[in-house]
Amino acid sequence: MLFLRILDRLEETLIAFLIGAATLVIFAAVTQRYLVGFPLFYGLLYDINLTWAQELCIYMFVWMAKFGAAYGVRTGIHVGVDVLVNYLSPGKRRYVILFGLFCGALFTFVVGTMGAKFVIELYPTGQVSPDMEMPRWIIFLCVPLGSYLMCFRFLQVAWSFFWTGELPHHDAAHVEGVDDFDALETPPKEPTR
């Protein structure tokens, strides 16, 4: 299962990188726009054109959204209305949950296929994005890739649920690093600057 482990790491690294990089890109663009107003920096920064930053940020986030959604299936963050399901007997509940997971797989498969068709039709048109002039089919490639990956994740979760009865569960109350319970009694370490 080495392949699966590599896929997991790749997925995690990609989405964490995308959100971090997008933040830095927008930060840089705003800082540049602001500083260029000062005569001191004007000559230095005037030549740098960051109008593409916004577009790049959007595409990075669209990619992050598609792959992050697949990662979310694995971490169980996609919540549904489970009020009724929890009242069912364990036997029935099992079937309803499996049905839900297969619907997820079905939907993402259909979307992935629609996306693949769309990308194939887009490829020969040679359309490019307005600012960065990046081929649009590359941008839209995240839809089939992300959706098929998500479909795979749904099947993976369904498989392990079928055999073990365990679902991934996202624990909203758990926060790492906030275990400092007697924070109010003990003075904190002085800020290091």
Binding site: I15, A16, L18, I19, G20, A22, T23, L24, I26, F27, V30, Y34, C57, F61, V62, M64, A65, F67, G68, A69, G72, H78, V79, G80, V81, D82, V83, L84, V85, V96, I97, G100, L101, C103, G104, L106, F107, T108, V110, M114, G115, K117, F118, F140, A172, A173, H174, V175, E176, G177, V178, D180, F181, D182, A183, L184, P188, K189, P191, R193
Partner: protein
Amino acid sequence: MNSFIIFTLLIALMLTGMPVSIALGLTVLTFLFVMTHVPTEAVALKLFTGIESFEIMAVPFFILAGNFLTHGGVAKRMIRFATAMVGHWHGGLGLAGVVACALFAAVSGSSPATVVAIGSIILPAMVAQGFPKRFGAGVIATSGALGILIPPSIVMVLYAVATGGGSAFGPNGERVLSASVGQLFMAGVVPGIMLASLLFLTTWYRARKFNYPRMPKASWGEAFTAFRKSFWGLSLIVVVMGGIYSGVFTPTEAAAISAVYAFVIAVFIYGDMGLRDVPKVLLASANMSAMILYIITNAVLFSFLMTSEQIPQAIIGWVTEMGIGWIGFLLFVNILLLLAGNFMEPSSIVLITAPILFPVAAKLGIDPVHLGILMVVNMEVGMCHPPVGLNLYVASGIAKMGITELTIAVMPWLLTMLAFLALVTYVPEISLWLPRVLGMM
């Protein structure tokens, strides 16, 4: 007839417990393949371009900023500052909890995050001081809800996104523009402070009645030190609100700036978080953001279907025919949203209902900003009562209390919130005064 089928299918799919986003998407697909003339290509394109807007990107940025603030020790310093201010009154730490929640809400856009950030520090401290657990959990679960009312707020961004681009017409047929994120943020300030004060008073009243512990009064020196230490966190309020109001940056840019700012204070100034923890925070934020963006994608599809089936127009026709005025309509909206709050979490509710309610409200002369604030307050109430009140679950996780027990524990504050909801619903000036005075609308 069609609309009836759409909603029946959606509700049936949702009740199986599948993710809300999948239920929305499947409803749209089924409808498309089975019973409509809308070309599949048009919908396919929506699927890709649904989240291709810079405005929506404020959501991941605010989530990232919130995570850095939670992990970076900002909450801890805000609590110490709040304690120094109000700790010596009846129910000291409880009052400090309300104030700290309000302060943290002013830098974070999410309500469960506020409960976690403040609650996990202050609850154990309250129990140690001899407060009943019920009291502490009740204060924090409800005050945490301020997170989405006091700007910045993720739910407000979602409302602006969900109603943006829709066409709506006022009572006399004039075009009504949807509310912008900036307007909503400003409009949230006054109701946010009011609700915080009301929750504060409720806490104080109960603490005095049951004679809960107070803390020694902090000296001016101590208060100043606490202020100085929390200064870095507090100044983020000025950066975000000032930046948006003065037009230095857009709400999305403000969100990105606050994410970088929060990272810098967490890692380099307070040093509560090492660089090693950064990837973990990034991954957790990406996970949460992707989930919301995925709901948005599918909700955009769904509202596209709504529009092409002319459902808002049908409701407008029905409302005018019945002669329902804005008072009756808003009562209906409140009941609908409170009911929905029993089953779904806020982002889904706002994304599904806002595009339908907005054109109807506009027709009745209700300001889109007012509708937005009203929906946000409704979402707050929904987060604090079972069966899916997210704040309750988070608080029960921290306090190690059962949901049923916690439901009773939050009652006094929940009733206060309901009274406040009625006030916000029927006094539009509470929401509209500040953005008007500032000339934003």
